[in-house]
Symmetry: C2
Subunit: 484 residues, 2 copies
């Protein structure tokens, strides 16, 4: 994918690397002021010894293009043109730091990059395995597009009308009565949260949520100066006894919850808890964001109906998505809410991206409209159940002495608590070196440093097997080491 | 599309409408507190006399579900359940007003809605006509997807690698040297601006731009508390003599420009002006956003090379898009910038929507990679030129006495200045009633109240013909009327 020096060339490796870097500088890709990657990172990227990189960089420093500093960082200080320019080029680093949006947590940035390394085993990834994604059926849908041709133009602000009709019909099946004008098509649930954060909430407000929560792993609310206030969970879901106190104390505007197969714990909120939550939020006039992306991924019995299906007072902004069940790449999700809210969010979406891909919307509508989605769900449930069973069995064989967990009734994740004292950062790095990518619990709750989110959805079966076994070995070894 | 009362039913129309509204209220679609549409709007929506609506609403007021006020507005005050609830439901209107993002201008909201009315002639729409969109070829691309199968999973943070390679190759053809790691795939240029506004700029900063500008028609920067500062244009493009003074006076962080077939004026920045602009911005250390969405839509001769092709100091953030040339519905555009900037924007995009549709990215890469895009461009240029010629001829025949304009050398628009005194709001409304949708100049510049952005790209040829003729008649009549 990336350029690497040509081992068969007569030009020495360090010289090829010099030319490559010079070219990047002269094209402005590494503009003056850019801090270039570390020697170690460059050596990895070019697949050469670090000494080769050091030689190349020393030459470029001598030529006045780069400047090293005492802490080991190297910056671009010149290019062939800027010596002629009257004033220095813009300091892009200061721009990068000026924006109001929070960067991803370093751990997440690391994971986002590592996910695309060749041959990596992704033990924490919250996606269906590529082998479970229906590529062949998708191809057929496009081949049959004459039946209901797709448009290449923009869609209506709320999204394709036919898709919204199909979603309304689908929602009826899970107990949610609504109509197309109360549905907004979004590019996945995350975008829905982004629109809510800039469309419905004031800077300085706060929202309540489960702790741990997926929501801590992104900065969609914090970047709009909205605070997240975590409530503890138990095996029935979010604990409701504190809601009134927290609502008052933090002047909370919303409660965000994933009642069905919660991310990262897979907790399924019980029916009594759902009723209690709705009662308390109605009493408090506290609206709810119900994120229901995992609902269809049940194994033994369907989950209780959504909060939205018992919502006469229009408390609930309901989020659904095809990303966890059909195809993350389609980027299709939906929001169901009172009409003024949908109108507002649609208006902002038009100013953000002019609506979601019409090709994706068309394909989603075909999946729903032809009944193929329901068929596919049956298949995915079966496959995920097998994977869950395998993962649980592997944990039993390898993790019994070192961890505890609950068996999920649906969804993607096992929330594994290590009961031995493991330096998690070290585990993460060692695992990555061995080709295993982990999602540490601290991403979802700063205090969940002893947890791992293990996903049985993504890796291939033999990867799961090898990965979980190897991970257990590594932990046991680390515990041994740290006991020394 | 929307529900309408059944004329053939024995149930009276007002009674059908009552039931419809009751249902909306009881489902929470019109939650308690919602201001429902005006009597006139409802009459239009249901295709009935206003008196029928008045009867239905009066009944619902009598039943205690609605409340009218003296200024004619009607609100939902009860539903069948909330009388039992301990406290009132959330006041969604206050949420809608609380969000930090600016709503679209009322004129734009109106246009966004009107665009999807049946049979409307869209004389201002900045899109290719559906008949110019290559639906058949797109279908074939999907049929041949076995050659290079598409993924249904997420893509890398910067976007699909193969697509970025194709874009790098395409950019080389227009003089821009870059590599895939300096390219970010976005869901259209508007999203690029959104990412820049939250990723690179401080609240309270300002950006310089042409006046008029497309950018005034969205609130992407203003919603992040960034000010737009307009610079005058002449026939060679943005006037450069004020840049230094404005940069200092407003502490501007960026300059946004559409040098090639500017939206809405179609101005093509001359080669000397491009050089001057680059020189001044280099001297000032003022970075540039170059929005180049219209570049390929030239008629007689290709435009001068992009600013980005003469940018050794990495001043330019370059935006390209397939929306104006191939398919707006794909939602595929790109940003070219120094690597730290691209990394930053990619990181934020991951937190906003986890990347653009992978199906769209795949299709875009196929168009570029198989050479089909270049073929399609030849066709689009021909067709657009014919349309430009027709529009200019129609203007000559009908608008000579009442307006002035320049003939565009590319792009979609003729920036028509009415030289008679027409009440523009009235013209807009009358035209809409007659089935013609206009884009008034004031959308792009508060002081351009006497301008219209006429687009020859969208309407069918006979619609263009009838629409422009009818519009001229209407204006002449209005001028007559206003002279009385």
């Amino acid at each position: 994918m990336e350029w690497k020096p040509d081992l068969s060339s007569e030009t020495p490796l360090y010289s090829q690397i010099k030319d490559f870097i010079k070219n990047k500088i002269s094209l402005g890709e590494w503009a003056v002021g850019t801090k270039i990657p570390s020697q170690r990172a460059l050596a990895e990227r070019f697949d050469v010894n670090r000494s080769t990189v050091v030689t190349a960089l020393s030459d470029l420093i001598a030529e006045g293009l780069l400047e090293g500093n005492t802490r080991g960082g190297t910056r671009v200080i010149n290019n062939s043109w800027n010596l002629l320019a009257a004033s220095p080029p813009p300091d892009w680093s200061s721009y990068v730091q000026a924006g109001t949006y929070y960067p991803n947590q370093p751990a997440i940035q690391h994971i986002n990059r590592a996910e695309f390394q060749d041959g990596i085993i992704r033990l924490g990834t919250g996606e269906l395995s590529p082998e479970l994604l229906p590529s062949e059926e998708m191809k057929k849908i496009f081949e049959n597009s004459s039946l209901n041709p797709f448009s290449l133009g923009y869609e209506e602000p709320k999204g394709n009308q036919y898709l919204r009709e199909q979603i309304a019909a689908y929602l009826q099946g899970i107990g949610v009565q609504t109509s197309p004008s109360n549905i907004l098509i979004v590019s996945g649930s995350l975008q829905a949260l982004q629109l809510i954060s800039i469309g419905l909430l004031q800077r300085g407000s706060s929202i309540l949520l489960e702790k741990p929560s997926y929501l801590y792993s992104v900065h969609v609310f914090q970047s709009s100066a909205i605070k997240l206030v975590g409530l503890p969970m138990d095996e029935e879901g979010i604990q409701t006894n504190q809601i009134s106190r927290y609502k008052e104390g933090y002047n909370a505007s919303l409660l965000y919850t994933i009642p069905t197969f919660h991310n990262p714990t897979s907790t399924l909120m019980s029916e009594p808890r759902r009723q209690e939550l709705m009662r308390i939020c109605a009493d408090e006039g506290l609206p709810i964001i119900e994120d229901d992306a995992y609902r269809e991924l049940w194994f033994e019995t369907p989950p209780p109906p959504p909060l939205k299906s018992r919502d006469p007072n229009a408390l609930v902004l309901y989020l659904g998505s095809l990303s966890k069940t059909l195809s993350p790449g389609l980027r299709i999700g939906w929001v169901v809410a009172p009409e003024p809210v949908i109108d507002r969010l649609a208006d902002i979406k038009m100013q953000n991206d002019y609506g979601s891909s019409s090709v994706s919307q068309w394909a989603a509508a075909e999946w729903l409209g032809r009944g193929l989605y329901q068929e596919h769900l049956v298949y995915v449930r079966e496959q995920l159940k097998r994977r869950r069973d395998l993962a649980v069995q592997l944990l039993k064989s390898n993790f019994t002495e070192i961890a505890s967990w609950s068996v999920p009734a649906g969804g993607f994740y096992i929330w594994v608590r290590l009961i031995v004292d493991v330096p998690m950062q070290m585990l993460f790095e060692r695992a990555l070196k061995a080709g295993i990518l982990l999602n540490p619990g601290s991403i979802y709750d700063r205090n969940a440093g002893s947890y791992l989110r293990i996903s049985y959805a993504y890796a291939k079966l033999h990867e799961l097997e090898w990965g979980i076994e190897y991970l257990a070995e590594m932990i046991k070894e680390l515990v041994g080491v740290s006991k020394k």
